[in-house]
């Protein structure tokens, strides 16, 4: 079966993480018309948590690479569902659409982004270079400069 397109690699996923985290903590509550409410505090907290574990993730934009990338994606999914469930657990959904719709919309956006995220990102794993060095029967640096020109210029006419 052909692999479905999953254009968000680990780097781009990181860009989305930090952008969304910052957006949720700053402009989102105002744009959603929920500034000063419990919903705003919940969403700001979700943004902060998201940015926080992003910084701890083992992917190219992680600062302290302790959390495996796949675990990060799992937290994304669980966090998104928890955020959507929060207004219904607390009962604030009874106070009007604005007290639950932003949570659900953010959950849908997060799950959609996961659907187009390539889960095979392996952080900064660049192969076992030490094993390659040990197994390689050639000294690469010697091939770069030693031995002189490998090509002969044509004789002048």
């Amino acid at each position: 079966m052909a692999t479905p397109p999953r254009p968000l690699d680990a780097t781009l996923h990181g860009v989305v993480d930090y952008t969304m985290g910052t957006f949720l903590m700053s402009m989102f509550p105002k744009l959603a018309g929920i500034q000063g409410t419990r919903s705003a505090r919940q969403i700001r907290l979700a943004g902060a948590i998201h940015a926080g574990y992003s910084a701890l993730t083992d992917y190219p934009l992680g600062a302290v690479k302790t959390l495996p990338y796949k675990a990060h994606l799992g937290l994304d999914a669980v966090g998104a569902i928890a955020l959507a469930a929060t207004p219904f657990v607390t009962g604030q959904h009874r106070q009007g659409t604005r007290q639950w719709l932003p949570h659900v919309a953010l959950c849908v956006a997060e799950l959609s982004s996961l659907l187009i995220t390539d889960p095979t990102g392996r952080g900064d794993y660049h192969g076992n270079v030490e094993a390659v060095r040990r197994a390689n029967s050639i000294a690469p640096s010697s091939k770069l400069r030693d031995g002189g020109p490998a090509v002969r210029r044509p004789a002048a006419a």
Binding site: D118, N128, L144, V151
Partner: protein
């Protein structure tokens, strides 16, 4: 047998797979003695070539010993040592009769997909997605070679594997790139990309009589090989100064190179951060399939009336292709997957005469089982890696 298979983006694995069998009278089975990772394999590895399937055997640069031949193959015998060209060509169609082997009309069983993408079908290629036929590749212990009476080239002397292996792809590809430049002696040629194909494009331009060959890359170690081994006279590292076009003009008295070879392809990197970021995001989001930093600069740098020779692999569509510069400067664009079968014999003779020793590019020789780490080392340009040869 063991084979290196594609297992998803950024993942290859060496697995046990069924041995290949003769399926057609014109097939042969080759026991592989040496195979290599090509820069264009990284496009598959990075997930930018569609129609890959998990379990596809990679590899289109390989050579070895013939261990079985079909009834219709009169040109080979068991025991022959052969290099196998990467394009699969029937030898009978209009394209093959005109030595345009990489656009053979018969060898791609998925011609319909290629026709939709490119307007016409292109040849089958070993281990290079299902657009090019879905053929099993040569990063394996054995490979089935279709049309074995046309492709495999016999090596009948004691040249080492690493001296002749690259006749399968990167040497003829680099040579074709230089050949397109119509070098007449005294020319200045710029080569974008000092990877393995770029090294051979540089060396070929030198062999064909170019007076100056300017290598452009972002890695000093590759530029070092280009000048010390491949024969480049000048080097530009675009990480030190991103304005490659201006630097090429400065090196050529303001005129620009007579011809520019793009040996980079669809994953080009720009020294300008914003350009790079925009192209990277658009490619990742599939808004464009090909990043155009190298080709755009090639067109902008080439002197009026000059030639832009494209041998780096592109797969689909590119944004901001500078049609105005291309048209108004009267440039000639030449390109293509290499017609290896056309070039293989004359280049083999050049190796035998000592005009070139293609083994200079090999920096890593690994056992097949280390292919996954070999891919990572090559992809991330670690350990001064230029070319990885795998020994099954």
């Amino acid at each position: 047998m063991r084979a290196n298979v594609w297992s998803g983006r950024n993942t290859v694995q060496v697995e046990n797979v069924p041995d290949p069998k003769i399926l057609n009278d014109r097939d042969a089975i080759v026991k592989i003695s040496s195979t290599a990772i090509c820069g264009s394999d990284l496009h598959l590895y990075d997930g930018y070539v569609p129609t890959m399937k998990r379990g596809d055997i990679l590899g289109h640069e390989f050579m070895g010993e013939v261990v079985e031949v079909g009834k219709g193959v009169g040109t080979l015998a068991v025991g022959d040592r052969v290099v196998v060209p990467f394009p699969i060509a029937c030898g009978n169609c209009w394209s093959c009769k005109h030595e345009l082997y990489s656009v053979c009309e018969n060898s791609n069983p998925n011609a319909g997909i290629a026709e939709k993408m490119f307007g016409h079908p292109t040849a089958g290629i070993f281990g290079y997605s299902h657009i090019t036929g879905g053929y099993a590749g040569g990063q394996a212990e054995y490979a089935r070679v279709p049309y074995a009476d046309v492709g495999p080239f016999k090596i009948e002397d004691d040249l080492t594997d690493e001296q002749v292996l690259f006749l399968s792809d990167i040497f003829p590809t680099g040579y074709m790139g230089a050949d397109f430049c119509q070098i007449t002696g005294g020319d200045t040629i710029a080569v974008f990309g000092a990877g393995p194909v770029g090294q051979f494009a540089i060396a070929s331009a030198v062999m064909l009589g170019a007076e100056r060959v300017i290598a452009v890359d972002e890695y000093d170690y590759r530029l070092q090989m280009a000048t010390a081994r491949a024969g480049a006279t000048d080097a530009i590292n675009f990480r030190e100064n991103a304005d490659v076009v201006e630097q090429l003009k400065e090196l050529t008295g303001g005129r620009g190179p007579d011809a520019v070879i793009d040996a980079v392809g669809m994953e080009a990197v720009s020294g300008h951060g914003v350009v790079q970021a925009v192209d990277r995001v658009k490619q990742a989001a599939r808004i464009e399939s090909d990043r155009g930093a190298a080709l755009r600069d090639a067109i902008m740098a080439c002197r009026p009336g000059g030639i832009v020779s494209v041998i780096g692999v592109y797969g689909g569509l590119m944004d901001k292709f500078p049609t105005g510069a291309f048209m108004n400067k009267g440039l000639t664009l030449r390109s293509g997957q290499c017609h290896v079968q056309r070039y293989i014999k004359p280049l083999y003779e050049r190796i035998r005469k000592g005009d070139i020793d293609p083994s200079f590019v090999v920096t890593h020789r690994l056992e097949l089982g280390q292919a996954p780490d070999g891919y990572e080392t090559f992809k991330h340009k670690q350990d001064d890696c230029v070319k990885v040869v795998l020994k099954p």
